[in-house]
C-alpha cells in the first residue's frame, strides 16, 4: 500500500499528494481497431488532471478504461497502491470512482433530487422492508442522505430545479445535475467527460469554477477530458495529450503547450 512517489506543490500553492492511480502501458483494441496504444500516465491525490487530444484521440476510451466500461487487452491499472483486477463498472464505482458522461446520462424520468439521490445508492445499507414502511433506521438513513444531497445541490446552485424532472432542463443545467450526482457518491476520483462541451462562454466559466471549487472544498481528485486546449490550461495541474490513441506528451500545461508534437497534432502538419 505504501507509496514512495513524492508529491509536489502547484503554482497556486496546493499540495498534491502521491500517486492515486497509475495507468501502465495501456493498449485497447476493438477487433482490428486499436483505440489506445501503449499509454502510461498517473493521477495524483488532490490533482486536477486533464486528458486532451483532437477528436478520435482515444480520450473517452481512456476514461472508459479507468471507469471499467472497457477492459484493456494489455497493460495494468493501479489504484491506491494495488494492481486492479478486471472488474465490472459498478464495483469500480464502489471503490470510489465516479464519472459524468459526454452525452449526459441522467435518469430522465426522475427529478433533480432523485437523480442526485441515486449517487447515494451504494451507501444505503438498510433493509428494504424498513424502507418500504418508511420507519425507524431506514427513515433516519434516508433523511441523512437527503440532507447531504441538498448540500451538494446548494453547492452547485441548482436549488431552483430541485424538483424538476431532468428531461425538461436545458443542457447546461443537466450537466450540472450530472456533476451533482457524481459528487453525491463522495468519490475519491471524479472523472469528467468533456464537462464543458456544447456550453456557451458563461456556462463554461461557471463549470470551471465548480470544478475548481469541488477540488478545493472536497479535496476530490479530478481527471477530465477536453478537446478544447484553452479550457484546460487554466484548470489542470498536469495534462496528458493523446492523438490517434498514442501518447504525445505529458506535463504541466505550459510544457505541453510548447511541445512541438502537440502543436503539430492540433494545427496539423504536412507529412
Amino acid at each position: 500500500m505504501k507509496d514512495t512517489t513524492q508529491g509536489y506543490v502547484t503554482e497556486d500553492g496546493r499540495h498534491i499528494g502521491g500517486v492515486m492511480m497509475e495507468m501502465k502501458n495501456i493498449t485497447l483494441r476493438f477487433g482490428g481497431v486499436v483505440a489506445i496504444t501503449d499509454v502510461s500516465f498517473d493521477i495524483r491525490e488532490g490533482e486536477i488532471r486533464a486528458i486532451i487530444g483532437p477528436n478520435g484521440a482515444g480520450k473517452s476510451s481512456m476514461l472508459n478504461v479507468i471507469n471499467g466500461f472497457y477492459h484493456p487487452q494489455e497493460g495494468e491499472v493501479w489504484f491506491r497502491g494495488k494492481k486492479r483486477p478486471s472488474m465490472p463498472p459498478y464495483e469500480i464505482a464502489e471503490q470510489g470512482i465516479a464519472r459524468t458522461f459526454q452525452n449526459i446520462a441522467l435518469f430522465k424520468g426522475m427529478t433533480t433530487i432523485e437523480n442526485v439521490m441515486t449517487g447515494r445508492q451504494l451507501m444505503m445499507k438498510k433493509n428494504f422492508f424498513w424502507q418500504l414502511l418508511r420507519l425507524g433506521p431506514a427513515l433516519d438513513e434516508e433523511v441523512k442522505h437527503r440532507r447531504r444531497c441538498e448540500e451538494i445541490i446548494d453547492f452547485l446552485e441548482i436549488q431552483a430545479i430541485r424538483n424538476t424532472p431532468v428531461g425538461s432542463l436545458p443542457y447546461g443545467l443537466q450537466k450540472r445535475v450530472e456533476l451533482a450526482r457524481a459528487l453525491a457518491m463522495e468519490p475519491k476520483l471524479l472523472l469528467l467527460d468533456e464537462p464543458m462541451a456544447g456550453m456557451n462562454v458563461e456556462e463554461k466559466e461557471d463549470m470551471s469554477r465548480f470544478i475548481l471549487d469541488v477540488n478545493d472544498q472536497y479535496g476530490t481528485t479530478i481527471a477530465l477530458i477536453e478537446h478544447d486546449m484553452s479550457v484546460v490550461m487554466d484548470l489542470a495541474d498536469r495534462v496528458v495529450v493523446l492523438d490517434y490513441g498514442k501518447q504525445l506528451a505529458d506535463g504541466t500545461p505550459d510544457e505541453v503547450q510548447k511541445n512541438q508534437a502537440v502543436i503539430d497534432a492540433y494545427l496539423g502538419v504536412e507529412h
Binding site: 471507469n67 466500461f69 465490472p88 463498472p89 459498478y90 464495483e91 464505482a93 464502489e94 465516479a98 464519472r99 458522461f101 446520462a105 441522467l106 435518469f107 430522465k108 424520468g109 426522475m110 432523485e114 439521490m117 441515486t118 449517487g119 445508492q121 451504494l122 444505503m124 438498510k126 428494504f128 424502507q131 418500504l132 418508511r134 450526482r181 457524481a182 457518491m185
Partner: protein, 319 residues
C-alpha cells in the same frame, strides 16, 4: 323500429337501462377479468422497463408457476409450504435466465433478446410437460384458503352475484399493485430499478449492478406470474392453454403503454370491461366469439392514433 343504426346505437343502451342488475353483473365480470389481464400485463411491463425486452415467456411463466404449486401439493407438500417453494423456484428461474441468457446477450439488438424469450417459452413448455404432464389440473383453491362461495346483492329487486373468488382476486391484485408501487417509489432497490429503466451506463456508474437488477425484475415478474396463475387457475383450471390468455396482455400493453405500471392497470380494466360489454350487448350483431378479437381491434385503433398508449412516454424525436 329496426335497422343497423338502431341495433348498434340504441338497442344495447336500452337493454342496459332496462336490466341494470344484469348490466352491473356484466361490468363486474369485466372488471375481474380486466384485473387479471392487468396482472399479466404488469409482468411484461416490469421486465420491459428494466431491460427493454418484450418477454414472450411471461404467459408460460404464469402456467409454469401454477403447475409447480399444484404439482408440489400433489406430492404431499402442505399448500403454504408449496407456495413458498414455488416462490423459490421462480427466483431460481430468474437467476438462471439472467445467468444463461441475458448476461450473454447483453447489448444485442432487441429482436435477439425477444427471440431468446421465445426460446425460453419453448423450454418452459417442454420442461413443464415433461415434469408435470400435459393434462389439466385444478388449482388448490381451498387449501390456499381462497374463499369459493358467492354473495348475492339485490339492488331494487334485481340480482347481482359476486363470486368470492373474484372478490379475492381483485383484492389480492390490488394489494400486489400497491405493494409494487411502494416498492418502486420508496426503496433503494426500487430506485435502482427505475434508474436502470432510464439509463444503463449511468446506473453502472453510480454502482448499480445490472445483473442483480435483472434477477430482481425477473423474480418480481415471476411473483406476479404466480399470483396471476393462482387466480386464473382458481377461476378455470391450470393448463397449458392458459398461456394463450397471456397474448391478451399485448393489446393491454398497446393501450396502456409498455413502460407504465398504471397504464397496465387501466389498460387491463378497459380491455376487460370493454370486451365483456361488447360481447354481451353488441356480440349478437357479429355472431359469437367477439371476446376473441375485440381487444385486438382496440389495440389496432390505438396503434393508428396513439402509438405510445394512454400512459406511455411520448415518442419525440429531436431533429
Amino acid at each position: 323500429m329496426s335497422g343497423i343504426f338502431y341495433d348498434v346505437l340504441a338497442d344495447p343502451f336500452l337493454q342496459m337501462w332496462q336490466m341494470p342488475d344484469f348490466f352491473i353483473q356484466v361490468l363486474w365480470e369485466g372488471f375481474v377479468s380486466g384485473i387479471l389481464y392487468a396482472l399479466i400485463a404488469l409482468g411484461f411491463v416490469l421486465i420491459f422497463k428494466a431491460s427493454g425486452i418484450f418477454n414472450f415467456a411471461q404467459g408460460i411463466m404464469v402456467v409454469f408457476s401454477g403447475l409447480t404449486l399444484v404439482g408440489l401439493h400433489a406430492l404431499g407438500v402442505p399448500a403454504f409450504v408449496a407456495l413458498i417453494i414455488t416462490l423459490g423456484v421462480m427466483y431460481v428461474l430468474a437467476y438462471l435466465v439472467e445467468r444463461l441468457v441475458l448476461r450473454n446477450l447483453v447489448n444485442q439488438p432487441d429482436i435477439i433478446l425477444f427471440m431468446a424469450t421465445i426460446g425460453l417459452t419453448n423450454i418452459l413448455i417442454g420442461g413443464g410437460q415433461w415434469i408435470f404432464g400435459g393434462e389439466t389440473k385444478s388449482m388448490i383453491t381451498a387449501e390456499l384458503m381462497i374463499p369459493t362461495g358467492s354473495s348475492v346483492w339485490e339492488p331494487g329487486g334485481g340480482i347481482v352475484i359476486f363470486q368470492h373468488i373474484d372478490i379475492a382476486a381483485a383484492l389480492i391484485a390490488a394489494m400486489l399493485i400497491v405493494g409494487l408501487a411502494l416498492f418502486f417509489s420508496k426503496t433503494k432497490v426500487g430506485r435502482a430499478l427505475r434508474a436502470v429503466a432510464d439509463d444503463h451506463q449511468a446506473s453502472l456508474s453510480v454502482g448499480i449492478s445490472l445483473n442483480q437488477i435483472w434477477v430482481i425484475t425477473w423474480f418480481a415478474a415471476g411473483i406476479v406470474a404466480l399470483v396471476a396463475g393462482i387466480m386464473w387457475g382458481a377461476r378455470s383450471d391450470v393448463s397449458f392453454s392458459l398461456q394463450i390468455i397471456a397474448l391478451k396482455a399485448l393489446p393491454v400493453l398497446v393501450l396502456g403503454g409498455f413502460t407504465s405500471v398504471p397504464g397496465a392497470i387501466v389498460g387491463g380494466l378497459i380491455i376487460g370491461i370493454g370486451e365483456k360489454l361488447f360481447e354481451i350487448y353488441w356480440g349478437p350483431l357479429f355472431g359469437s366469439g367477439v371476446e376473441g378479437w375485440f381487444a385486438y381491434v382496440i389495440a389496432l385503433v390505438f396503434l393508428l392514433f396513439r402509438p405510445q398508449g394512454l400512459f406511455g412516454e411520448k415518442i419525440i424525436e429531436r431533429v
